[in-house]
Amino acid sequence: MQTQSIQPCARALRRAAANAILVIVAMFGRTAAASAQTDFYNTDAGRPIRTEDAYPVERRAVELQLAPLRLERASGGLYTWALEPEIAVGALPQTQIEIGLPLAFADAGVGRTTSTSGAAGLEISALYNLNVETTLPALAIAGDALLPVGGLAPDHALTSVKGIVTKTFPFARFHVNGAYTFGAEPQLGLPNVLELWRWFGSLAVDHTLPLRSLLLTAEVVTEQPIQDEEDVRWAVGGGARWQRSPRWALDAGLGRWFTGADQTWYATFGGAYAFGLPWRGRGR
């Protein structure tokens, strides 16, 4: 794993992050309606919490995670910033394909004499919803490949599988996620900016205020980091997802790892813009 020390790039990334925040803040403040309807209800991994529901984006929908920002503060005041732009497409019935390009910036700190930034891999994933809820919970399976693209990426591709369960009750919705990463431990010359894991499990609950198009959620997560020598760690997190307009959903989250080597705080903030795939069919 190569260590980079590209200050101009770091500044550019910081500027990009700041601009992204400005754009999102401006979006919150707009009075005119921008022209998916209930995207806020469809939680995605990391938006705002790691646990996701068992449903893909709607068929023929495209969801752009334009400026999903993640900020992590480790003990000692070291910050890691990550921007994780993604595009999710409801390509097939009950199926979502997602491509993401995580970009990270890490402060100088233990093991590093300079700050570091760069792409942290190219992530390609697919989620297939097995069923909709009846008396049975909704189930989904997902597969993910993280390719070694960029200076902060792992040195070889990592693949993982995930199982998702969603059950809705009148008062709340519950989700259970469990995932496992295959392959040898990658060489990471930097802190684990993407928080790669060997396995993780999580339980989340969310409550929706339907008339306000607002979802409040909380989770508990446990994981074995990808480095075998590290201990299993636990985190709690929470957040909200809000439908700003028919096309825009915003999210914000906060969490803390309270065991493990790095007992860090983290915050997420982002916006998803939804639109439909072009349709070539014609009327009469």
């Binding site: 309606a33 022209s35 998916a36 309807q37 209930t38 806020f40 209800y41 893909p56 984006v57 709607e58 068929r59 023929r60 929908a61 409801g90 019935p93 009950q94 919803n129 097995l130 069923n131 909709v132 809820e133 009846t134 008396t135 049975l136 919970p137 369960v165 059950k167 809705t168 009750f169 009148p170 519950f174 259970v176 469990g178 499990g201 339980l203 929706t208 339907p210 008339l211 306000r212 198009s213 446990t222 074995q224 020598e229 201990d231 299993v232 439908q243 307009s245 028919p246 096309r247 939804a274 639109f275 439909g276 795939l277 072009p278 349709w279 069919g281 014609r282 009327g283 009469r284």
Partner: protein, 448 residues
Amino acid sequence: MTARMLATLQRTTMRSKLLGALLASLLAMEFPVPAHAQWVQQSRQFYLQAPHNWRFRDQYQSADRLFNAFDYGHAILYETLWTKPNASPDVLEVDEYAHLVRGILVHPPRLPLEETVIEPRYAQLAPEAKLMFEWAHVLHRQMYDVLADERLSPAGKDTAVARLLAYYKSRPDLAFSSTPKSMKLMQEQPYSLAFRTKYPKFNGLIWAYHWMQVGLYEPLLVGRSPEERQSLVRATVARFWQMLEHPVETMPHQMPMTAAISPHFAARYPEAAIIFDNLHSMHDVISDVLANPMVPRNRKRAEILRAARLFRDDTSYVMTVQAWRTMSEHMGIENMGGPSVGFLAPLPTPTVTYGAVMTHDDRTGEMTGFKHGNAVGGEHAGHGNAAAADTSAAHAADHMGHAMPMSPAPSATTPKQPAAKAAPAKKPAAPKPAQPANPHVGHPLPME
């Protein structure tokens, strides 16, 4: 024991704890998995991407928000009927009705709702039917968008509507048939009438919703300028509120039929009008299935799915388009809340009892009698039909004679195929209409 072995042991212990915790979480959720648990695979679909997306929301915000409130009303109705089968009717007729009329409708949500949150148990009972409704509601919304898009010419709107209908039909697993269905499918089934009988006020509210949902197309279509469309839409919305003033007297007494309420719209876009009538009929069917204790709880899902299948196919309970127009007219627009444009200040006086069930000739659409309720009031006084008796031709003719003619729209626009054009010729001559033939012409803004 080395430090590494100790670490390994600790990790193993942690993993065991983790698995235990997750298992405990799952068990704590207590998934009920009864013998009839259903494995259902279906997917939601995004609306058709087009330049006209959300134009109605942008241009007619208050009307658009009311539709969001209507979604809440439908959802809470089904959830209540399914989850509180033994509750007093007051739960819906008093409490929920007041919540809707004084709360949700007055302060409607600014965005379309995620109905699963409001009706989680119903959504789990019949997700297939729920998705059918969602898909048809998407069509509803997109039709408003097209008609509200001032950048589109009339021909451009026709093309856009044709594309919407093609997109809608691209999901045959969700799409209602665009072939007209006889009212028998809606109100002559073994479970029929339970809802309107037990919950007349809420039923009237739903019919008022449906009146406005189909009625709002008419002002968008017949208004000759953006300003006129705006003022006509405001009048139509005001008319909706007028219907809620004295439930159930001021509410529609029959399911509003699109060909009657929005004749220009139904003439120009008959397929869409038929789809919406089928949609609204199925809303009533599901209310009846859920409200009728004669349908055992373990049969409700099957009955809902049966109805859904019949409303999707093009072969069951079908009638011709002309028969559908005739039937719509013979049901009497005055019994459906009246026209949505060009109306007089007072609401029309219904000529049948609330929730009456007329029978019709499936071939011609002509009314043949009453299966439930009878003709009443006004010019009908003295012509009362036997409520329970099946079909009296003489009484049927009486009622038909008093069916109110379609009210022309205020603009000069003439429908290509006027909905009621052919029907009057088939109707028996009315001795005296309940109201003048064209009493509403020239009164586009009675509420102002």
